[in-house]
Protein backbone atom coordinates (compact mmCIF):
# COMPACT_ATOMS: atom_id res chain seq x y z
CA UNK A 1 0.00 0.00 0.00
CA UNK A 2 1.57 3.27 -1.04
CA UNK A 3 1.03 6.20 1.24
CA UNK A 4 -0.56 9.35 -0.13
CA UNK A 5 -0.03 12.46 1.96
CA UNK A 6 -3.11 13.24 3.97
CA UNK A 7 -3.97 16.44 5.70
CA UNK A 8 -1.79 16.22 8.88
CA UNK A 9 -4.75 17.01 11.08
CA UNK A 10 -6.71 14.08 9.67
CA UNK A 11 -3.69 11.81 10.00
CA UNK A 12 -3.31 12.82 13.62
CA UNK A 13 -6.96 12.11 14.25
CA UNK A 14 -6.73 8.66 12.66
CA UNK A 15 -3.61 7.81 14.64
CA UNK A 16 -5.33 8.85 17.86
CA UNK A 17 -8.38 6.80 16.91
CA UNK A 18 -6.35 3.64 16.21
CA UNK A 19 -4.44 4.10 19.46
CA UNK A 20 -7.62 4.64 21.46
CA UNK A 21 -9.12 1.43 20.05
CA UNK A 22 -6.09 -0.56 21.20
CA UNK A 23 -5.96 1.12 24.61
CA UNK A 24 -9.62 0.36 25.31
CA UNK A 25 -8.72 -3.35 25.24
CA UNK A 26 -5.42 -2.85 27.08
CA UNK A 27 -7.27 -0.98 29.82
CA UNK A 28 -9.94 -3.68 30.13
CA UNK A 29 -12.69 -1.34 28.94
CA UNK A 30 -14.13 -4.05 26.75
CA UNK A 31 -17.61 -2.55 26.52
CA UNK A 32 -16.06 0.39 24.65
CA UNK A 33 -14.43 -1.84 22.08
CA UNK A 34 -17.45 -2.46 19.77
CA UNK A 35 -18.09 1.28 19.62
CA UNK A 36 -14.96 1.75 17.55
CA UNK A 37 -16.76 -0.16 14.78
CA UNK A 38 -19.71 0.68 12.56
CA UNK A 39 -22.96 -1.18 13.10
CA UNK A 40 -22.39 -3.34 10.00
CA UNK A 41 -18.67 -3.79 10.46
CA UNK A 42 -16.54 -6.85 9.87
CA UNK A 43 -13.84 -7.97 12.29
CA UNK A 44 -11.63 -11.00 11.85
CA UNK A 45 -8.48 -12.38 13.46
CA UNK A 46 -6.80 -14.60 10.88
CA UNK A 47 -3.32 -16.11 10.48
CA UNK A 48 -1.25 -14.69 7.66
CA UNK A 49 -1.09 -18.03 5.84
CA UNK A 50 -4.90 -18.30 5.87
CA UNK A 51 -5.31 -14.67 4.85
CA UNK A 52 -2.99 -15.16 1.89
CA UNK A 53 -4.72 -18.43 0.94
CA UNK A 54 -8.11 -16.65 0.90
CA UNK A 55 -9.58 -18.73 3.71
CA UNK A 56 -12.93 -17.61 5.08
CA UNK A 57 -12.55 -19.07 8.58
CA UNK A 58 -10.21 -17.26 10.91
CA UNK A 59 -9.63 -17.54 14.63
CA UNK A 60 -12.34 -15.02 15.54
CA UNK A 61 -14.88 -13.48 13.17
CA UNK A 62 -17.57 -10.90 13.92
CA UNK A 63 -20.06 -9.73 11.36
CA UNK A 64 -21.81 -6.70 12.82
CA UNK A 65 -21.37 -4.92 16.12
CA UNK A 66 -23.82 -7.28 17.81
CA UNK A 67 -21.43 -10.18 17.50
CA UNK A 68 -18.70 -8.03 19.05
CA UNK A 69 -20.96 -7.22 21.97
CA UNK A 70 -21.62 -10.95 22.38
CA UNK A 71 -17.87 -11.59 22.45
CA UNK A 72 -17.47 -8.97 25.16
CA UNK A 73 -20.33 -10.40 27.22
CA UNK A 74 -18.97 -13.91 26.76
CA UNK A 75 -15.49 -12.99 27.93
CA UNK A 76 -16.96 -11.18 30.92
CA UNK A 77 -19.58 -13.71 31.98
CA UNK A 78 -19.32 -17.06 30.21
CA UNK A 79 -15.80 -17.95 29.17
CA UNK A 80 -13.32 -19.36 31.68
CA UNK A 81 -9.61 -18.54 31.49
CA UNK A 82 -6.81 -17.22 33.62
CA UNK A 83 -7.06 -13.43 33.96
CA UNK A 84 -4.63 -11.64 31.67
CA UNK A 85 -3.87 -8.21 30.25
CA UNK A 86 -2.79 -7.04 26.85
CA UNK A 87 -0.31 -4.33 25.96
CA UNK A 88 -0.50 -3.31 22.30
CA UNK A 89 2.46 -1.57 20.68
CA UNK A 90 1.40 0.05 17.42
CA UNK A 91 3.64 1.13 14.57
CA UNK A 92 2.95 4.27 12.57
CA UNK A 93 0.06 3.51 10.23
CA UNK A 94 0.34 3.73 6.47
CA UNK A 95 -2.81 5.45 5.18
CA UNK A 96 -4.43 5.62 1.81
CA UNK A 97 -7.62 7.36 0.77
CA UNK A 98 -10.01 5.08 -1.12
CA UNK A 99 -12.12 6.26 -4.08
CA UNK A 100 -15.23 6.40 -1.90
CA UNK A 101 -13.54 8.59 0.71
CA UNK A 102 -12.84 5.87 3.24
CA UNK A 103 -9.34 5.55 4.63
CA UNK A 104 -7.47 2.28 4.23
CA UNK A 105 -4.91 1.82 6.99
CA UNK A 106 -2.21 -0.72 7.64
CA UNK A 107 -0.74 -0.69 11.13
CA UNK A 108 1.84 -3.20 12.28
CA UNK A 109 1.57 -4.21 15.91
CA UNK A 110 3.20 -6.23 18.64
CA UNK A 111 0.99 -7.54 21.42
CA UNK A 112 2.34 -8.50 24.82
CA UNK A 113 0.23 -10.60 27.15
CA UNK A 114 0.64 -10.85 30.90
CA UNK A 115 -1.18 -13.70 32.61
CA UNK A 116 -1.74 -12.85 36.26
CA UNK A 117 1.30 -13.92 38.24
CA UNK A 118 3.30 -14.74 35.13
CA UNK A 119 5.82 -13.14 32.84
CA UNK A 120 5.03 -10.59 30.19
CA UNK A 121 5.40 -12.42 26.88
CA UNK A 122 5.03 -11.58 23.23
CA UNK A 123 1.64 -13.05 22.36
CA UNK A 124 1.18 -11.92 18.78
CA UNK A 125 2.62 -9.75 16.08
CA UNK A 126 1.03 -8.79 12.82
CA UNK A 127 -0.87 -6.06 11.07
CA UNK A 128 -4.23 -4.39 11.20
CA UNK A 129 -5.76 -3.93 7.77
CA UNK A 130 -8.48 -1.41 8.41
CA UNK A 131 -11.11 0.49 6.53
CA UNK A 132 -12.02 3.64 8.43
CA UNK A 133 -15.09 5.73 7.69
CA UNK A 134 -16.76 8.80 9.12
CA UNK A 135 -19.90 8.11 11.11
CA UNK A 136 -21.35 11.50 12.00
CA UNK A 137 -18.59 13.26 13.90
CA UNK A 138 -16.83 10.03 14.76
CA UNK A 139 -14.34 7.87 12.96
CA UNK A 140 -15.20 4.17 12.98
CA UNK A 141 -13.80 0.93 11.65
CA UNK A 142 -15.95 -0.51 8.91
CA UNK A 143 -13.70 -3.50 8.66
CA UNK A 144 -10.65 -4.71 10.52
CA UNK A 145 -8.62 -7.72 9.57
CA UNK A 146 -6.12 -8.65 12.25
CA UNK A 147 -3.53 -10.64 10.35
CA UNK A 148 -1.28 -12.63 12.69
CA UNK A 149 2.20 -13.55 11.54
CA UNK A 150 1.92 -17.01 13.10
CA UNK A 151 -0.88 -19.50 12.72
CA UNK A 152 -0.09 -20.78 16.22
CA UNK A 153 -1.37 -19.01 19.30
CA UNK A 154 -0.38 -19.71 22.87
CA UNK A 155 -3.13 -21.31 24.99
CA UNK A 156 -6.19 -19.40 23.74
CA UNK A 157 -7.58 -16.14 22.42
CA UNK A 158 -10.46 -14.61 24.33
CA UNK A 159 -9.80 -10.87 24.45
CA UNK A 160 -10.08 -9.10 21.12
CA UNK A 161 -6.77 -8.16 19.51
Amino acid sequence: MSAIPLDPELRGRIEDFLTEAALAVDDGEFARWPRFFTEDSFYQIIPRASFEAGHTVGIMTCRGRGMMQDRVEALQSANIYEPHNYCHILARPVLRREDDGAIAARTNFALYRTIAGGNTELFAAGKYLDRIVRDGDELRLQSRRVVLESRRVDILVVLPI
Binding site: S50, I59, E73, A74, Y81, R152, V153
Partner: protein, 413 residues
Amino acid sequence: MSATLVSNEALRWPAEGVTRVPYRVFADPEIYAQEQQRIFRGPVWNFLCLETEIPQPGDIRLAAIGETPIIVTRDETGAVNAMVNRCAHRGALVCLKERDHAAALTCAYHSWSYDLRGQLQSVAFRRGLRGQGGMPADFDPARHRLEPVRVESFCGLVFGTFSPDTPPVETYLGPMTAGLVRRALGRPYRLIGMHSQMLHNNWKLYAENLRDSYHASLLHTFYTAFKINRVDMDGGMLLSDDGRHSVSYSKRATLQEGEELERMRAAQYGSDLNGPQLLETFDEWPDGITHAIQAIFPTLGVQFTLNSIAVRFFTPRGLDETELFWMYLGREDDDPHQAGMRALQGNLTGAAGLVSLEDGCINEFVQRGTRGSPDHAAIVEMGGREVGSSQSSRATETGIRGFWQAYRQLMEL
Protein backbone atom coordinates in the same frame (compact mmCIF):
# COMPACT_ATOMS: atom_id res chain seq x y z
CA MET B 1 12.10 -52.50 18.16
CA SER B 2 13.59 -53.60 21.45
CA ALA B 3 12.21 -51.02 23.85
CA THR B 4 12.07 -52.19 27.40
CA LEU B 5 8.83 -52.26 29.27
CA VAL B 6 8.02 -49.37 31.55
CA SER B 7 9.21 -50.73 34.84
CA ASN B 8 6.79 -51.47 37.63
CA GLU B 9 8.66 -49.01 39.80
CA ALA B 10 7.93 -46.26 37.32
CA LEU B 11 4.25 -46.97 37.24
CA ARG B 12 1.99 -49.24 39.20
CA TRP B 13 -1.46 -48.93 37.68
CA PRO B 14 -4.13 -48.86 40.38
CA ALA B 15 -6.09 -52.07 40.91
CA GLU B 16 -9.33 -50.26 39.96
CA GLY B 17 -8.19 -50.35 36.31
CA VAL B 18 -9.46 -47.78 33.82
CA THR B 19 -11.50 -45.92 36.44
CA ARG B 20 -8.22 -44.61 37.87
CA VAL B 21 -5.52 -42.71 35.97
CA PRO B 22 -2.26 -42.27 37.88
CA TYR B 23 -0.96 -38.75 37.39
CA ARG B 24 2.52 -40.08 36.72
CA VAL B 25 1.48 -40.87 33.15
CA PHE B 26 1.27 -37.14 32.42
CA ALA B 27 4.64 -36.22 33.90
CA ASP B 28 7.10 -39.09 33.50
CA PRO B 29 9.76 -38.69 30.78
CA GLU B 30 10.34 -42.46 30.62
CA ILE B 31 6.67 -43.10 29.89
CA TYR B 32 6.68 -40.28 27.33
CA ALA B 33 9.66 -41.86 25.54
CA GLN B 34 7.96 -45.25 25.55
CA GLU B 35 4.81 -43.76 24.00
CA GLN B 36 6.80 -42.56 21.03
CA GLN B 37 7.61 -46.20 20.27
CA ARG B 38 4.61 -48.13 21.53
CA ILE B 39 1.82 -45.74 20.57
CA PHE B 40 2.99 -43.53 17.73
CA ARG B 41 5.24 -46.10 16.07
CA GLY B 42 2.87 -48.87 17.11
CA PRO B 43 -0.13 -50.43 15.33
CA VAL B 44 -2.17 -47.23 15.05
CA TRP B 45 -3.13 -44.93 12.19
CA ASN B 46 -1.85 -41.39 12.72
CA PHE B 47 -3.58 -38.54 10.90
CA LEU B 48 -1.12 -36.74 8.61
CA CYS B 49 -3.01 -34.27 6.44
CA LEU B 50 -5.89 -33.87 4.01
CA GLU B 51 -5.62 -35.14 0.44
CA THR B 52 -7.04 -31.82 -0.69
CA GLU B 53 -3.90 -30.11 0.65
CA ILE B 54 -1.73 -31.99 -1.85
CA PRO B 55 -3.90 -32.12 -5.00
CA GLN B 56 -1.11 -32.06 -7.63
CA PRO B 57 1.87 -34.32 -8.32
CA GLY B 58 4.87 -32.69 -6.63
CA ASP B 59 2.79 -31.21 -3.80
CA ILE B 60 4.45 -31.60 -0.41
CA ARG B 61 3.03 -31.21 3.08
CA LEU B 62 4.87 -31.60 6.36
CA ALA B 63 3.28 -33.52 9.23
CA ALA B 64 4.28 -35.40 12.36
CA ILE B 65 3.77 -38.79 13.97
CA GLY B 66 4.33 -38.25 17.64
CA GLU B 67 7.53 -36.22 17.70
CA THR B 68 8.80 -37.70 14.43
CA PRO B 69 8.74 -35.19 11.55
CA ILE B 70 7.02 -36.55 8.45
CA ILE B 71 6.90 -35.56 4.77
CA VAL B 72 3.75 -36.31 2.78
CA THR B 73 3.98 -36.08 -1.01
CA ARG B 74 1.91 -36.74 -4.09
CA ASP B 75 4.14 -38.39 -6.69
CA GLU B 76 4.04 -38.37 -10.50
CA THR B 77 1.56 -41.26 -10.53
CA GLY B 78 -0.85 -39.40 -8.27
CA ALA B 79 -0.14 -41.69 -5.32
CA VAL B 80 0.30 -40.29 -1.80
CA ASN B 81 3.54 -41.18 -0.01
CA ALA B 82 4.86 -40.49 3.48
CA MET B 83 8.35 -40.76 4.89
CA VAL B 84 10.37 -39.50 7.82
CA ASN B 85 11.75 -36.00 7.27
CA ARG B 86 15.28 -37.08 8.21
CA CYS B 87 18.05 -37.26 5.63
CA ALA B 88 19.49 -40.77 5.26
CA HIS B 89 22.94 -39.18 5.30
CA ARG B 90 23.36 -37.26 8.56
CA GLY B 91 19.83 -36.78 9.80
CA ALA B 92 18.99 -33.20 8.82
CA LEU B 93 15.46 -32.16 7.96
CA VAL B 94 15.09 -32.57 4.20
CA CYS B 95 11.98 -30.42 3.74
CA LEU B 96 11.51 -27.15 5.61
CA LYS B 97 8.31 -25.58 4.26
CA GLU B 98 5.00 -26.73 5.67
CA ARG B 99 3.58 -26.65 2.14
CA ASP B 100 5.73 -26.88 -0.95
CA HIS B 101 5.83 -28.05 -4.54
CA ALA B 102 8.93 -29.69 -6.03
CA ALA B 103 10.03 -32.42 -8.41
CA ALA B 104 12.49 -33.89 -5.90
CA LEU B 105 13.34 -33.69 -2.20
CA THR B 106 16.83 -32.30 -1.68
CA CYS B 107 18.59 -31.97 1.65
CA ALA B 108 20.13 -28.51 2.04
CA TYR B 109 23.11 -29.81 4.05
CA HIS B 110 24.96 -31.90 1.39
CA SER B 111 22.47 -31.94 -1.50
CA TRP B 112 21.46 -35.57 -1.18
CA SER B 113 18.41 -35.77 -3.37
CA TYR B 114 15.38 -38.07 -3.18
CA ASP B 115 12.45 -38.70 -5.46
CA LEU B 116 8.89 -38.00 -4.28
CA ARG B 117 8.68 -41.54 -2.89
CA GLY B 118 11.78 -40.97 -0.76
CA GLN B 119 14.22 -43.08 -2.78
CA LEU B 120 17.74 -41.66 -2.85
CA GLN B 121 18.53 -40.47 -6.39
CA SER B 122 21.80 -38.66 -6.19
CA VAL B 123 24.64 -37.82 -3.81
CA ALA B 124 26.68 -34.67 -4.38
CA PHE B 125 30.35 -35.37 -5.20
CA ARG B 126 29.65 -39.09 -5.15
CA ARG B 127 32.55 -39.62 -7.58
CA GLY B 128 34.65 -36.98 -5.88
CA LEU B 129 36.20 -33.88 -7.45
CA ARG B 130 38.72 -34.24 -10.29
CA GLY B 131 39.08 -37.92 -9.50
CA GLN B 132 39.82 -37.32 -5.81
CA GLY B 133 37.64 -38.41 -2.89
CA GLY B 134 34.02 -39.32 -3.29
CA MET B 135 32.00 -42.07 -1.72
CA PRO B 136 33.43 -45.61 -1.58
CA ALA B 137 33.03 -47.44 -4.88
CA ASP B 138 30.51 -49.85 -3.42
CA PHE B 139 28.20 -47.09 -2.12
CA ASP B 140 24.84 -47.81 -3.76
CA PRO B 141 22.20 -45.04 -3.71
CA ALA B 142 19.53 -47.63 -4.47
CA ARG B 143 20.08 -49.04 -1.00
CA HIS B 144 19.27 -45.77 0.78
CA ARG B 145 16.07 -43.87 1.17
CA LEU B 146 14.07 -41.76 3.58
CA GLU B 147 12.47 -44.04 6.18
CA PRO B 148 9.11 -44.99 4.68
CA VAL B 149 5.74 -44.69 6.39
CA ARG B 150 2.75 -46.74 5.25
CA VAL B 151 -0.07 -44.49 4.12
CA GLU B 152 -3.74 -44.97 3.48
CA SER B 153 -6.48 -42.45 2.76
CA PHE B 154 -10.03 -42.58 3.98
CA CYS B 155 -12.57 -39.92 2.95
CA GLY B 156 -9.67 -37.64 2.01
CA LEU B 157 -7.92 -38.03 5.39
CA VAL B 158 -4.35 -39.24 4.91
CA PHE B 159 -3.19 -41.59 7.66
CA GLY B 160 0.27 -43.01 8.28
CA THR B 161 1.62 -45.89 10.32
CA PHE B 162 5.06 -47.31 11.01
CA SER B 163 3.72 -50.73 11.89
CA PRO B 164 3.20 -53.53 9.35
CA ASP B 165 0.55 -54.89 11.74
CA THR B 166 -1.90 -52.00 11.54
CA PRO B 167 -5.07 -53.25 9.81
CA PRO B 168 -6.64 -51.24 6.95
CA VAL B 169 -7.98 -47.86 8.09
CA GLU B 170 -11.63 -48.80 7.74
CA THR B 171 -11.07 -51.93 9.83
CA TYR B 172 -9.08 -49.89 12.34
CA LEU B 173 -11.91 -47.36 12.65
CA GLY B 174 -14.67 -49.94 12.85
CA PRO B 175 -18.12 -49.57 11.24
CA MET B 176 -19.57 -46.94 13.58
CA THR B 177 -16.58 -44.58 13.40
CA ALA B 178 -16.02 -45.14 9.68
CA GLY B 179 -19.71 -44.52 8.99
CA LEU B 180 -19.72 -41.19 10.83
CA VAL B 181 -16.51 -40.04 9.14
CA ARG B 182 -18.08 -40.89 5.80
CA ARG B 183 -21.19 -38.96 6.77
CA ALA B 184 -19.17 -35.80 7.53
CA LEU B 185 -16.43 -36.09 4.91
CA GLY B 186 -17.85 -38.34 2.24
CA ARG B 187 -18.56 -35.47 -0.13
CA PRO B 188 -15.90 -33.28 -1.77
CA TYR B 189 -14.61 -30.58 0.54
CA ARG B 190 -11.82 -28.05 0.74
CA LEU B 191 -9.81 -26.37 3.44
CA ILE B 192 -11.32 -23.00 4.42
CA GLY B 193 -9.33 -22.19 7.57
CA MET B 194 -6.49 -23.42 9.73
CA HIS B 195 -4.74 -22.45 12.93
CA SER B 196 -3.21 -24.09 15.95
CA GLN B 197 -2.77 -23.47 19.64
CA MET B 198 -0.07 -24.52 22.06
CA LEU B 199 -1.38 -26.27 25.13
CA HIS B 200 0.95 -26.53 28.10
CA ASN B 201 -0.02 -30.05 29.00
CA ASN B 202 0.72 -33.65 28.16
CA TRP B 203 -0.96 -34.87 24.97
CA LYS B 204 -3.06 -37.46 26.81
CA LEU B 205 -4.87 -34.79 28.81
CA TYR B 206 -6.20 -33.46 25.53
CA ALA B 207 -7.01 -37.02 24.38
CA GLU B 208 -9.14 -37.35 27.53
CA ASN B 209 -10.69 -33.92 27.05
CA LEU B 210 -11.73 -34.75 23.47
CA ARG B 211 -13.55 -37.85 24.77
CA ASP B 212 -15.05 -36.11 27.80
CA SER B 213 -18.71 -35.43 27.09
CA TYR B 214 -19.33 -34.90 30.83
CA HIS B 215 -17.56 -31.52 30.95
CA ALA B 216 -19.14 -29.96 27.88
CA SER B 217 -22.07 -28.09 29.41
CA LEU B 218 -20.28 -27.52 32.74
CA LEU B 219 -17.05 -25.91 31.56
CA HIS B 220 -18.31 -24.39 28.31
CA THR B 221 -21.16 -22.19 29.50
CA PHE B 222 -21.61 -20.01 26.44
CA TYR B 223 -24.86 -21.69 25.33
CA THR B 224 -26.46 -21.49 28.75
CA ALA B 225 -25.16 -17.98 29.54
CA PHE B 226 -26.82 -16.67 26.39
CA LYS B 227 -29.99 -18.68 27.05
CA ILE B 228 -29.56 -20.42 23.74
CA ASN B 229 -32.63 -22.58 23.78
CA ARG B 230 -31.39 -25.81 22.36
CA VAL B 231 -33.95 -28.45 21.67
CA ASP B 232 -31.25 -30.74 20.39
CA MET B 233 -30.09 -31.92 23.76
CA ASP B 234 -30.94 -35.55 23.10
CA GLY B 235 -27.74 -37.38 22.57
CA GLY B 236 -25.23 -39.85 23.79
CA MET B 237 -21.75 -41.20 23.66
CA LEU B 238 -21.01 -44.13 21.38
CA LEU B 239 -17.83 -46.16 21.45
CA SER B 240 -16.26 -48.37 18.83
CA ASP B 241 -16.24 -52.08 19.65
CA ASP B 242 -12.66 -51.84 20.93
CA GLY B 243 -13.47 -48.68 22.94
CA ARG B 244 -10.63 -46.62 21.51
CA HIS B 245 -12.70 -44.35 19.26
CA SER B 246 -15.80 -42.50 20.36
CA VAL B 247 -18.43 -40.04 19.26
CA SER B 248 -20.32 -37.63 21.44
CA TYR B 249 -23.42 -36.38 19.66
CA SER B 250 -26.58 -34.43 20.15
CA LYS B 251 -29.61 -34.39 17.95
CA ARG B 252 -32.85 -32.59 17.54
CA ALA B 253 -35.75 -33.83 19.58
CA THR B 254 -37.24 -36.72 17.69
CA LEU B 255 -40.85 -37.60 16.85
CA GLN B 256 -41.71 -34.08 15.72
CA GLU B 257 -43.58 -33.96 12.46
CA GLY B 258 -44.56 -31.32 9.92
CA GLU B 259 -45.62 -27.96 11.26
CA GLU B 260 -44.54 -28.68 14.78
CA LEU B 261 -41.05 -29.56 13.61
CA GLU B 262 -40.82 -26.35 11.59
CA ARG B 263 -41.94 -24.33 14.60
CA MET B 264 -39.33 -26.06 16.75
CA ARG B 265 -36.62 -25.31 14.23
CA ALA B 266 -37.58 -21.66 14.07
CA ALA B 267 -37.34 -21.40 17.85
CA GLN B 268 -34.33 -23.62 18.13
CA TYR B 269 -31.78 -20.95 18.76
CA GLY B 270 -33.89 -18.20 20.25
CA SER B 271 -31.46 -16.48 22.59
CA ASP B 272 -30.05 -13.38 24.21
CA LEU B 273 -27.51 -12.99 21.43
CA ASN B 274 -27.02 -9.51 19.98
CA GLY B 275 -25.63 -11.17 16.88
CA PRO B 276 -27.93 -14.18 16.36
CA GLN B 277 -26.51 -14.70 12.88
CA LEU B 278 -23.79 -16.63 14.70
CA LEU B 279 -26.18 -19.60 14.85
CA GLU B 280 -27.86 -19.23 11.49
CA THR B 281 -27.81 -22.68 9.92
CA PHE B 282 -28.89 -24.59 6.87
CA ASP B 283 -30.16 -28.14 6.73
CA GLU B 284 -27.31 -30.42 5.92
CA TRP B 285 -27.76 -33.51 8.06
CA PRO B 286 -30.95 -35.47 7.33
CA ASP B 287 -30.61 -37.63 10.45
CA GLY B 288 -31.12 -34.68 12.80
CA ILE B 289 -27.72 -34.91 14.47
CA THR B 290 -26.58 -31.31 14.97
CA HIS B 291 -23.36 -31.72 16.93
CA ALA B 292 -20.93 -34.62 16.85
CA ILE B 293 -17.37 -34.86 18.08
CA GLN B 294 -15.57 -38.00 17.04
CA ALA B 295 -12.35 -39.01 18.75
CA ILE B 296 -10.17 -41.31 16.70
CA PHE B 297 -7.29 -42.98 18.51
CA PRO B 298 -4.75 -41.68 19.18
CA THR B 299 -4.84 -37.98 18.26
CA LEU B 300 -7.55 -37.11 15.73
CA GLY B 301 -10.94 -35.49 16.07
CA VAL B 302 -13.56 -35.12 13.35
CA GLN B 303 -16.47 -32.92 14.22
CA PHE B 304 -19.39 -31.00 13.01
CA THR B 305 -20.96 -28.25 15.04
CA LEU B 306 -24.13 -27.22 13.21
CA ASN B 307 -22.64 -26.53 9.74
CA SER B 308 -19.08 -26.03 10.91
CA ILE B 309 -17.05 -29.04 9.83
CA ALA B 310 -13.60 -29.39 11.32
CA VAL B 311 -10.74 -31.79 11.68
CA ARG B 312 -8.72 -31.26 14.82
CA PHE B 313 -5.61 -33.17 15.69
CA PHE B 314 -2.90 -32.79 18.25
CA THR B 315 0.79 -33.48 18.30
CA PRO B 316 3.03 -33.96 21.32
CA ARG B 317 5.78 -31.31 21.38
CA GLY B 318 7.37 -32.50 24.60
CA LEU B 319 6.27 -34.05 27.88
CA ASP B 320 4.00 -31.15 28.79
CA GLU B 321 3.57 -29.35 25.48
CA THR B 322 0.94 -30.23 22.88
CA GLU B 323 0.07 -28.45 19.65
CA LEU B 324 -3.61 -28.59 18.79
CA PHE B 325 -4.50 -27.99 15.14
CA TRP B 326 -7.85 -26.90 13.76
CA MET B 327 -8.66 -27.36 10.08
CA TYR B 328 -12.01 -26.05 8.89
CA LEU B 329 -13.71 -27.52 5.86
CA GLY B 330 -16.29 -26.31 3.38
CA ARG B 331 -18.02 -28.09 0.54
CA GLU B 332 -16.88 -27.62 -3.01
CA ASP B 333 -20.45 -26.62 -3.92
CA ASP B 334 -21.17 -24.21 -1.06
CA ASP B 335 -22.97 -21.08 -2.19
CA PRO B 336 -21.75 -17.76 -0.71
CA HIS B 337 -24.50 -17.73 1.92
CA GLN B 338 -23.58 -21.23 3.09
CA ALA B 339 -19.88 -20.34 3.08
CA GLY B 340 -20.72 -17.30 5.23
CA MET B 341 -22.62 -19.42 7.75
CA ARG B 342 -19.72 -21.85 8.03
CA ALA B 343 -17.34 -18.92 8.57
CA LEU B 344 -19.42 -17.48 11.41
CA GLN B 345 -20.04 -20.86 13.05
CA GLY B 346 -16.27 -21.29 13.08
CA ASN B 347 -16.47 -18.93 16.08
CA LEU B 348 -17.86 -21.74 18.18
CA THR B 349 -14.65 -23.79 18.12
CA GLY B 350 -10.91 -23.29 17.78
CA ALA B 351 -8.43 -21.29 19.86
CA ALA B 352 -11.02 -18.54 20.36
CA GLY B 353 -14.05 -20.85 20.24
CA LEU B 354 -17.02 -19.59 22.22
CA VAL B 355 -17.72 -23.17 23.33
CA SER B 356 -14.19 -24.54 23.19
CA LEU B 357 -11.61 -21.95 24.22
CA GLU B 358 -11.62 -23.17 27.83
CA ASP B 359 -10.01 -26.41 26.65
CA GLY B 360 -6.93 -24.34 25.86
CA CYS B 361 -6.27 -23.87 29.57
CA ILE B 362 -8.23 -26.57 31.44
CA ASN B 363 -5.81 -29.37 30.63
CA GLU B 364 -2.93 -27.16 31.74
CA PHE B 365 -4.77 -26.71 35.03
CA VAL B 366 -4.65 -30.51 35.43
CA GLN B 367 -0.96 -30.58 34.48
CA ARG B 368 -0.23 -27.94 37.11
CA GLY B 369 -2.66 -29.35 39.66
CA THR B 370 -1.07 -32.78 39.60
CA ARG B 371 2.52 -31.60 39.87
CA GLY B 372 4.16 -33.24 42.84
CA SER B 373 1.43 -35.90 43.03
CA PRO B 374 2.55 -38.64 40.64
CA ASP B 375 1.22 -41.39 42.88
CA HIS B 376 -2.26 -39.97 43.16
CA ALA B 377 -4.87 -40.84 40.56
CA ALA B 378 -7.86 -39.36 38.78
CA ILE B 379 -11.33 -40.83 39.36
CA VAL B 380 -13.09 -41.75 36.12
CA GLU B 381 -16.40 -43.25 37.21
CA MET B 382 -19.08 -40.97 35.75
CA GLY B 383 -21.57 -43.18 33.95
CA GLY B 384 -20.23 -46.33 35.56
CA ARG B 385 -17.03 -48.29 35.55
CA GLU B 386 -17.41 -50.00 32.19
CA VAL B 387 -16.15 -49.24 28.72
CA GLY B 388 -19.21 -49.14 26.48
CA SER B 389 -21.65 -46.88 24.69
CA SER B 390 -24.00 -44.60 26.59
CA GLN B 391 -27.09 -44.21 24.45
CA SER B 392 -29.08 -41.98 26.73
CA SER B 393 -26.69 -39.54 28.32
CA ARG B 394 -23.54 -37.60 27.61
CA ALA B 395 -22.85 -37.22 31.32
CA THR B 396 -20.36 -40.05 31.09
CA GLU B 397 -16.63 -40.69 31.11
CA THR B 398 -16.90 -43.94 29.18
CA GLY B 399 -14.93 -42.50 26.24
CA ILE B 400 -12.05 -41.68 28.58
CA ARG B 401 -12.11 -45.20 30.01
CA GLY B 402 -12.03 -46.50 26.42
CA PHE B 403 -8.95 -44.41 25.69
CA TRP B 404 -7.09 -45.75 28.72
CA GLN B 405 -8.10 -49.31 27.91
CA ALA B 406 -6.48 -48.99 24.47
CA TYR B 407 -3.49 -47.09 25.88
CA ARG B 408 -2.76 -49.71 28.52
CA GLN B 409 -2.91 -52.49 25.97
CA LEU B 410 -0.41 -50.78 23.68
CA MET B 411 1.87 -49.73 26.53
CA GLU B 412 1.54 -53.10 28.29
CA LEU B 413 0.78 -51.25 31.51
